[in-house]
């Protein structure tokens, strides 16, 4: 499988993204959106998307280098525009969290409707520990605490199946938000201010020459997203991923074959929450603020819709979907109000028409060439 379809697709998407971010008038934006809405099914029909997916799978190094290069170009183009840099950094950090969610229900089938709550744990960790502890450590602590908080849910989740397990995460999400809202020690409904990130002496909130200071966060976000991506891909292709898939596809059969279902579910759930915690900690330092209202059930639903839109279990689909879900509504000013309605309808349409998402997860290759 040649590397060209993958590289060509990445270049085309970068070009589209650049035009999209630059577009000022609503007419231009709508035109580009229409182009996308029409173009994607057409490309799917002629098999281009499938070819891209296979090409990206076959040449991982080239694919990753191309994406990083494309991102570098976009940063160069918009280096002094605060808002664009902020959006890029948000997309990257949300990708980290959604990659975690992918491990949870894309691979292991453990449904998690409390993703935003774990982002919140990370965020509040930054707020509380930020002034006292070196920030690189704060990120890790954020991830660790999120994993720890998630572990109280493990027992109920292991004992329940399907809808019951979903209820547990939904109840937890609401519980978390209510808890931080009524708890004055964590700032109550007003939330807490968070210090800007300071990594080993590099103060991220101070701009380098005419570069927007948010660009610093884009670099950190890129590092985190790249690490998460590589980790998730390695995980998927290893025997760990194989076991997780077995657990997801048929628990009884997996147990019959000696796979410890409980152990893999715990691993997936904890790992996913760890990612979400790190992403939440970094995001809070970037926006400088955490409040209970940022981590509602609706926000968890947005995370789930990103994972589903990209393609359940598809690591490449996650950043793409995050980009669409976070950037498109910002640009369409007229649609600001209708944002959430459109997400909901988009997910409904996808579930009915193309449940495998934008970049479907390619079939596992058992015998690599």
């Amino acid at each position: 499988m040649s590397v060209l379809p993958g590289i060509a697709s990445i270049a085309a998407m970068a070009l589209y993204a650049a035009f999209f971010l630059h577009a000022e008038s609503q007419a231009q934006v709508l035109g580009l959106v229409a182009l996308g809405v029409v173009g994607v099914p057409v490309l799917a029909r002629v098999g281009w998307i499938a070819r891209t997916a296979t090409s990206l799978e076959a040449h991982p190094l080239a694919a990753r280098s191309a994406s990083v290069a494309a991102l570098a170009v976009i940063i160069a183009l918009f280096h002094d525009q605060h808002f664009v840099m902020l959006m890029l950094a948000s997309v990257l950090l949300y990708s980290v969290a959604c990659l975690g969610l992918t491990v949870q229900f894309g691979y292991a089938g453990v449904v998690n409707f409390a993703g935003a709550a774990f982002l919140g744990v990370g965020g509040y960790t930054s707020a509380v520990f930020g002034p006292h502890v070196p920030h690189a450590l704060v990120l890790l602590i954020g991830g660790g605490l999120a994993a720890l908080v998630g572990s109280i849910l493990i027992l109920p989740i292991l004992r329940t199946r399907g809808h019951y397990a979903a209820l547990i995460t939904v109840a937890f999400g609401i519980l978390f938000r209510t808890f931080v809202e009524v708890n004055d020690a964590l700032g109550g409904p007003q939330g807490l201010q968070v210090k800007g990130m300071n990594l080993f002496g590099w103060e991220l909130n101070s701009p380098l020459r005419d570069l927007s200071f948010y660009a610093n966060y884009v670099f950190v976000g890129l590092a985190l997203a790249a690490a998460a991506f590589v980790l998730v891909r390695r995980l998927e292709r290893s025997w760990v991923g194989l076991s997780l898939d077995a657990v997801r596809l048929d628990e009884t059969a997996a147990a019959v074959f000696g796979i410890d279902v409980a152990r893999w579910k715990i691993l997936a759930f904890t790992c996913g929450n760890f990612f979400a915690g790190i992403a939440g900690a970094a995001y809070a330092m970037m926006t400088g603020f955490v409040a209970p209202n940022s981590f509602t059930f609706g926000d968890s639903l947005i995370l789930v819709s990103i994972v589903l839109l990209g393609g359940l279990g598809s690591a490449w689909g996650v950043p793409l979907a995050a980009g669409i879900v976070l950037i498109v509504p910002e640009k369409l000013q007229a649609l600001q109000e209708y944002r959430f309605l459109l997400y909901a309808m988009l997910v409904i349409v996808i579930l009915l028409a193309r449940p495998q998402g934008l970049i479907a997860r390619p079939a596992r290759e058992y015998f690599p060439k």
Binding site: E181, G288, E337
Partner: protein, 385 residues
Amino acid sequence: MHNCVPRVFWAAALAAALASDAGAAKQTVKIAYIGPLTGGVSANGIGGRNSADLAVRLRNADPKAKYRYELVSLDDECKPNIAVQAATKAASDNSIVAGVTHYCSVAAIAAVDTYHKFGFPAVVWGAVLPDITYRNNYAEVHRVNGTMINQNDVAAKFMTGLKYKRWVIIHDTTDYGKGHDKYFTEYLTKYGGQVLGRFGVTADQQDFTAELTKAKELKPEVIYFGGLTPIGVRIRSQMERLGIDAVFEGTSGIKSDSYIDGLGKLAEGSLSFIEGAPWEKLPGGLYFIGKYAQQKYDQGPEAYGPFAFTAAGLIMDVIEQVGPNRRKVIEELRKTRDKDSIVGKISFDDHGQNVVPLITKYVVQDGKWVVWEDSEYASGRRKLK
């Protein structure tokens, strides 16, 4: 290949910009308006936006103005996190010079750090929490309306003066509600009133039967409410449901038409306090109302509309003086002393706070907010409970 693309972009963008700008003679200056355009207090937010919009229109109709102004309005939903997002959006857009910001205290207190980070001049028009101007000494933040300190002083003094003694305080758990609780308790104890109990409720709480049942046990004469209209309506309505016979004393947060719309007859006899002279009685106020009616907005200015109008006018005056440069606007705004406006004279102290000594008392009579002194309650023809 990638290097040619940006040049093509900028060429195309420049051409488009020049083409669209060909007709304009004056430079366009953008100012932001941030307020709760959706949600429970949207009446105030939309009223504020219309008032700021009115100020911009009147200025654009003035041939002596040096610039053409454009109002960019953003919604803060009365939520701190959304307020931070809206503030970031306005402040990170270099074409927006200054902002008329925030009705909700929770939104304002969250956003002030953002304005400071970006060096964005902001004039608060409706939030009353003192911390907004007094917690830090940010050069960027100013406020034309008063703080809740004076409001609560008058509220406590007035009711103890009418010989009420027993209070229960219900406040929302945001910084706004907690601020009211703090200052009111301080003044009430000073004037000899007694606080029998105090309940904190969340800003979007539906069911108050638990708190009100406990309050009923305490047999208060007055229930003081520190919070905004949506839960004020619910609490008053559920008080009725549980048979609690006490006076409902609110703050500026409930002085809106939506409070009366939500309760109908039950609103009768509710009290509220607001800073500034009743602007209906000032000539500037009548001018404002006249012009406002001419524009045929479908939402009235509500209690703080005149302050939004004043804030916008003040910003535009300063921009006319020093030009559309954020730093210069900040310096010039801070120097405002004894400036005339429809809400009285504006003078910013060293923290950017306008000092407004006068507080007006209002009571609901026959479905309208009436100034206490003009009401039948003051003359004795009607009695509060």
